[in-house]
Symmetry: D5
Subunit: 119 residues, 10 copies
């Protein structure tokens, strides 16, 4: 079951300098709680680290923990944003999910926390 | 016949947080009221939800209800925007239709309601 | 209702010379007889004319006549091939339909009549 | 001969609401007044309608009237902008022409009238 | 658990005529039996039907049944080919799986049964 | 008016050696004899020269001579093939025209003379 | 030898109206003064004309005059900007050169004069 | 140092059936023995397994062992083919290397062993 | 071992004029300090030169010195930025690294120094 | 001046085994003998080596020697084929030149010597 505890962090090597980290996973899958059919999508995490950075392997395992979870698009995206915010306390963060089509409609959900530079 | 009543909504799971939802349907068709020939296009809905989100299956059925409707590009786009605004009352919304070429000219219509972030 | 009689032909200007004609329509739609939902696809007609060529406007109207017809992928493709073969009596013909995804699966059906050059 | 009178307009169905209309024609041709050789390009019209919208078929015929006209890139673009501004009186307008290469150089001309949103 | 019994077939509407059916699913996932990590890929089925065609919804459910199955690339591909051959008895068949990269290497497995036309 | 006399040739520098020459013009336009509207397309000439090669500038002028000619797709393609065959007497030749869409259908016509290598 | 005198100008047909002209040449070559090897790149000129516009054929000949000139990337770009500024006196101007890779590194140099709109 | 002993194999699950396996690695690097500079490329292995299949992780480690090896394009490709042929004894095999450009020239080397189907 | 001393600079030919230089290297490789496996990526350097510009060949050799260095994504990017800032003292600088996927996740790190124009 | 003597060869490391070598140079330029304007193109050399392989740096210098040579497309291609055949005596060889457009027409010339596998 997905939980923020699955996420491990390491110390930001240059905590005083603002910079940008982006991780894109194109192999995300969860289950539609209404139909029981699998959903497939991509998750893009973009953030400005403060004291901590998320460790890549733990991020992969955290994403994999959604595999058999029945959860809506909007809830997935908000939960990932909340869990990562809790684990890393970044300066700012964007979490975007891009879902393959269902019934001829493809969807994108984007959650933003803090002041994203360049917007 | 297309009608806002076809649209069903569900409660926004995180109503206090501003975020973005986008649904793209590339399988839209209506009928040109002048020539009687079918028009084909894509509809992109992008919005910031307030209390309600539009339910995907009802959105699909709503779009399908235009199938045999004689209606101009501009009117389709404005009607979709009005019906969705009435059903969801979003913080802001963009409805864009991209139409395949007629007589060697392809067209795009874009209606914006409220303050779209990043513009 | 789709019918071979909708197809009009004109005399092949160079009936003694083997050559190739291809017409691609990316704006085809019919209805799934099982679910009642619309199907969207592209129809590619490729043929070697003998005495007759199919007239383009009549081909467009013939394709449009499938708009509200409940018919499976395989049946659409075979019917188009049969109707065109009856109307034009070509040397050879290929009819291919490419359908947008349903349930995450996109499909292609291809019917071939006569000896297609280069195969 | 190209003339603003060829352009027909219809009443904007939602004159009080600011929105965007774009028409792209990739089949534009005129003649180079210096060499007599044909020029090929695309014309993109993007505007915010006020009381009137340009009718698509008249726009196509207006563009076709340049077919045998000897006229430079800059003059074509400015004339189209002037004629459309005279016919429609839009809130704002962008006319861009993209020309295929001549002597290894391809060119773009863009004329802007009024306050274009998002710039 | 994946099993040929999940596959349902319907009667080929034109059993006497050789033609081609292709179904592409880009949403396939199973589990690596060695590492326990999920594998993601696409499955392409191409066949010449004889008396039976595979029904699309049952094909989707059959593919979904691999979701939590620990199975190697080669075994997945051969099992799909065997199960479909048993269910449909096609004239010929190609099953190809295209897997996303693991350790910087992406893989394709292709199994062919019978005489594939054009090879 | 288009005429084979517009085509100029030069001596093939290596007449004893079989090789391949291809010229692609993406700036072809003629007029539909039925509607009077312009048609736009590309012409691909591919041939094996014997004693003569067609000179590029004369080929351009020959293509330009179709600009205001009312002529069908099939007739354009066959006329170009006949005129070039008469002017150059090549070992083999392929003339293909690819036309932009009309009424949602785009077309290709291909005429082949002699034994094309690799088919 | 490259010289601003090679550049010819013509009167801007609409000197009072701000608009944009862009010319892209993908066939630029000069010589590396260090290694003697040829450099290949593209030159993009984008400007807002004031009283004068650069004539296209003279621009082509001016670019060709760098063909056997030993000159660094940075110097080429600055020289083109200086020569064009001297010849045309534009309201604003951007000159960008995009160079094919050398030693696995590809480079871009961009010089801006005046206030470029939209930045 | 690269050596065939690094390659591990597993038993082909369906040894009696001819099928195709392809592994593409886009992260290959070795060193040019002449200049000492690194070379970067992709290695495509395509084969028909007999009794054995190469194990993916060992293949990755085998490719990595070329990292600091001074060796020419042609020799790399032939050595990989020889080592894999010795380890797996496939029915047929193709090894292709695609190298990023050096001095403006990019290269491909392809070695084929046995009868490759479809050629 | 990577060191700022490997970087050589030359005098900016137009030190008083603000302009932009970008160098993209798609052939960067280092080693993951955790797993010992090689990492592959691209490095994009974009800067506004002040008195000095970095010499291209020395930049290539500097990048190559990371080849067998065990170092994390974040540290590589910050070190390159620090070393280049020390060597060139640019007006502003952006260093971005784009890494190929590991475990299905691909990453980008971007460090910015000074006021980047257009942000 | 271009001459076969510029080409250096090295011994084929596996002379008994048939394999394929391809070198693509996208930075070729010569001069049109009629107009004096530069021509730009790409040269693809594909061959099956016998006793000798062409050395890459000498191939680059040989191609560069055409830089200021007035020579037609057909003659360039045949001369390159003749010079390389004389220098390497390959089992078979294909030389193809792809030229950027002149007057809206882009051209390809392909010369083949010996029996090219797979044709």
């Amino acid at each position: 079951m997905p939980h923020a505890d699955l996420l491990e962090c390491f110390d930001n090597p240059t905590p005083g300098r603002p910079y940008v980290i982006e991780h894109v996973s194109e192999e995300f899958t969860s289950v539609c709680p209404k139909t029981g059919h699998p959903d497939f999508g991509a998750v893009t995490l973009r953030y400005g680290p403060d004291k901590l950075c998320v460790e890549l392997k733990s991020l992969k395992l955290y994403y994999q923990s959604f595999r058999n979870e029945g959860i809506f698009y909007e809830a997935v995206t908000n939960k990932i944003a909340d869990d990562l915010a809790k684990a890393m306390r970044p300066r700012w963060m964007v979490v975007r999910t891009d879902w393959k089509g269902r019934g001829g409609i493809r969807s994108t959900i984007e959650v933003t926390l803090g002041d994203v530079p360049g917007r």
